[in-house]
């Protein structure tokens, strides 16, 4: 198509982010990853791998280890062994590690963003401008808290070893939410990233190596729900932290109830978006767009229910429809895309079923 034709159509055209650095990183690992246990890569004991795929094209990105009970046990043992020394460090020394992690993530932020987009499908604009910068800020933030720990929380002691299970919607950001405060307060962790999106957690493991974090302080075991279950049921954990579906949250609550394990849960919701007739309706539409289409709507607090005062309902819905026609759907590595792919086929099927149900 010539420039003259483009002059007539005024299409946006492609604006792809270069995936070169991320693919080179995957290739350096021969596209196969073990678990990160006790500061080193370890092959899965049961010899199983599963694929992590790019949801925008279904292509396999890498083979990732499927964590067995034995793998989880090895990771918990490593975390337990590392715990006394890590806890005994002064908070200022722990802060130093957290600052180092923050700086390394910041330094490699482009690589993290591209890898996150490839593995998760979120638009590069979001991983580049939101996810990864927030990750960095979380580590800086909690490094600061580590320094203030003795002063602000004088009576508190660390939990010990924490098992952490995170979802696929903000893979690295959820990792940061879990790992940064745990390390700041003197805990050691075993983290299981979601099976759809393990890659940035594995890149993060490499960052832990680069900053010479003591072995066993951060352990990353990949796998599906059974790996998560093995982690939840492991007897030598002091706390479980979980972010994900309400259903799984309930199961974890039931599983940990008879034990000494402490528990924090961050689960899903159906958040209402309420509009009154005196609102700026165009502004409302933008709020709605951010609320429901940010990260393909895959957000626990997405504004998934719209409650509108009747007097403006027709007008608002017409405006929403107009606005939807200018949202751009496409490959998430494109810098001018608003909506990328849904995380996986199963999830897309589920959404389709729900929509069909709503229509019928």
């Amino acid at each position: 198509m010539s420039i003259a034709e483009k002059f007539a159509t005024m299409e946006y055209g492609p604006a792809p982010e270069d995936p070169k650095e991320a693919t080179a990183w995957l290739d350096r690992h021969v596209r196969r990853f073990g678990h990160f246990i006790n500061g080193a890569w370890q092959k899965p004991s049961a010899d199983g791998y599963f694929d992590s795929v790019d949801p925008s094209n279904g292509e396999k990105l890498a083979s990732v280890a499927q964590g067995s009970t034995a793998d989880v046990d090895a990771a918990v043992k490593a975390a337990r062994a590392a715990s006394p020394k890590w806890q005994a460090l002064t908070p200022h020394i722990r802060a130093r590690y957290l600052y180092a992690i923050a700086r390394q993530v910041q330094k490699h932020s482009r690589l993290f963003a591209v890898l996150e987009t490839m593995d998760n499908g979120k638009p590069i604009r979001e991983s580049r401008d939101i996810d990864i910068p927030l990750v960095t800020r979380h580590f800086y933030h909690h490094a600061g808290w580590a320094q203030l720990l003795e002063q602000e929380f004088p009576e508190y002691v660390a939990c010990g070893v924490v098992g952490q299970i995170i979802p696929w919607n903000f893979p690295l950001l959820m990792l940061a939410w879990k790992i940064a405060p745990a390390l700041a307060t003197g805990n050691t962790v075993v983290l299981k990233p979601a099976e759809f999106t393990p890659l940035t957690a594995l890149l993060f493991a490499e960052i832990c190596q680069e900053v010479a974090l003591p072995a066993g302080v951060v352990n990353i075991v990949t796998g599906d729900g059974t790996t998560g279950e093995a982690l939840v049921k492991h007897p030598d954990l002091d706390k479980i932290a979980f972010t994900g579906s309400t259903e799984v949250g309930r199961a974890i609550r039931a599983a940990t109830a008879p034990s000494h394990k402490r528990l924090s849960l961050e689960l899903g919701g159906k958040s209402p978006f309420i509009v009154f007739e005196d609102a700026d309706l165009d502004g409302t539409v933008e709020g709605l767009v951010d609320g429901i289409w940010f990260n393909q709507g895959q957000v626990c607090c997405a504004g998934s229910r719209l409650l509108v005062q009747e007097s403006v309902a027709d007008v608002l819905i017409a405006k929403v429809r107009d606005r939807m026609s200018s949202l751009r759907i496409g490959p998430p590595l494109d810098k001018a895309i608003d909506i990328g792919p849904i995380i996986a086929g199963v999830q897309l099927d589920r959404i389709r079923r729900l929509v069909d149900q709503g229509v019928a």
Binding site: S2, I3, K6, D282, T284, E286, G287, S311, A336
Partner: protein, 352 residues
């Protein structure tokens, strides 16, 4: 359109009739909105409810403007094509106290041939015959500009009505417009009395603009709101509505002489007002951001805003203009970079 909506926006009754007339006469349509043909704006009676009911959530607009810039980009050949489009939507302007006939002539020459011939050839766009949309000058230079632009379709726009303050007596401002139209200007940029907006004197504002419109006759009237002076986005939205009801062919952000001129948040408020007015009346009003748009990148942001808020059929010189003097130089520079892979110094792209 629901009955409730009609009541809350009192104009609607009158408009529904107009609505049916419009859809029967698409051959006079100048553009469309979501498939509906739109006629040129002839104005409607002032509806005070329509003016005062406006709600603008400033932080929501600012957020939209902020993320819009990060959400959209055009690269390579597409970028070149968009920049060419920007040129065809340009009111190439000189409005300085030291303007001379020769400067206006040079500006017109630039407007006739905005891109160097070798670049045109290398871009393969000779057939497009890229020219600016209009040359915008003070009344004094209308004749000079008309001469210099003979044989082209480039319009001559004159700023009348005591530009840029707009505070000379009304009769004189109207007479000024008449003189400019008689001198042959195709387009007249008029300035509103900002004090009417601050005082909420909408009838006075409406009457003033309607008087300007009458004086313009068949010349296109662009109404400068002075958005930098108006201070709040709600004022901008209200003034936009009054100007459109009074018959503006274009609404224009600012004179270029205020401390803040065209900003994207103001652009969103004005284009949304245009969209709403089109939906209500079936009539199309153009939009002209002016002042402060100096870089090629900025022009792309404005073009994509127009494309998303009003649609592709609005992104052309008939309905969208940049009021700019330095912008063309940067666009030409970017096009040269597109062709050669190298940036040239700004002084190699003189304007006038």
């Amino acid at each position: 359109m629901s009955a409730d909506y009609d009541q809350s926006r009192g104009v609607a009754h009158d408009l529904i009739r107009r609505d049916t007339i419009n859809s029967e006469t698409p051959e006079h349509a100048i553009t469309e909105l979501a498939g509906r043909p739109l006629l040129p704006n002839t104005g409607i009676p002032l509806d005070l409810d329509y003016v005062t009911n406006v709600r603008v959530n400033t932080s929501a607009v600012e957020r939209r403007a902020q993320t819009h810039v990060a959400r959209r980009t055009v690269k390579k050949d597409w970028q070149a094509a968009w920049l060419l489009r920007a040129i065809t939507c340009m009111d190439l302007t000189t409005l300085s106290g030291d303007d001379t006939d020769d400067r206006v002539r040079r500006l017109c020459a630039k407007g006739r041939q905005p891109i160097r011939q070798d670049l045109v050839e290398k871009l393969g766009i000779a057939e497009l015959d890229i020219k600016v949309a209009a040359i915008c000058v003070y009344h004094t230079f209308i004749e000079t500009a008309l001469h210099a632009l003979e044989g082209t379709r480039i319009h001559v726009a004159a700023v009348s009505t005591g530009f840029p303050a707009g505070l000379s007596p009304l009769a004189e401002r109207v007479a000024e417009i008449r003189r400019s139209v008689e001198a042959g200007a195709h387009e007249i940029d008029v300035v509103i009395t900002r004090a009417h907006v601050f005082g909420g004197r909408w009838q006075a504002l409406y009457d003033e603009i309607a008087a300007f419109k009458q004086a313009c006759g068949s010349a296109h009237m662009k109404v400068i709101l002075g958005t930098g002076d108006l201070l709040t986005l709600r004022n901008v939205a209200r003034a936009s509505r009054v100007a459109m009801m009074a018959g503006a062919d274009f609404i224009k952000t600012s004179t270029g002489k205020e401390s803040t001129n065209a900003t994207l948040p103001v652009g969103f408020v004005m284009t949304r007002a245009i969209r709403e007015y089109a939906q209500l009346t079936g009539m199309a009003v153009g939009f002209k951001p002016a002042g402060g748009i100096r870089t090629a990148k900025q022009s792309l942001d404005w073009l994509s805003m127009m494309k998303e808020e009003l649609g592709l059929s609005w992104v052309r010189g008939e309905l969208f203009r940049f009021g700019a003097s330095g912008l063309l130089g940067d666009i030409e520079r970017q096009l040269e970079h597109h062709v050669t892979g190298r940036y040239s110094a700004e002084h190699r792209h003189p304007m006038a």
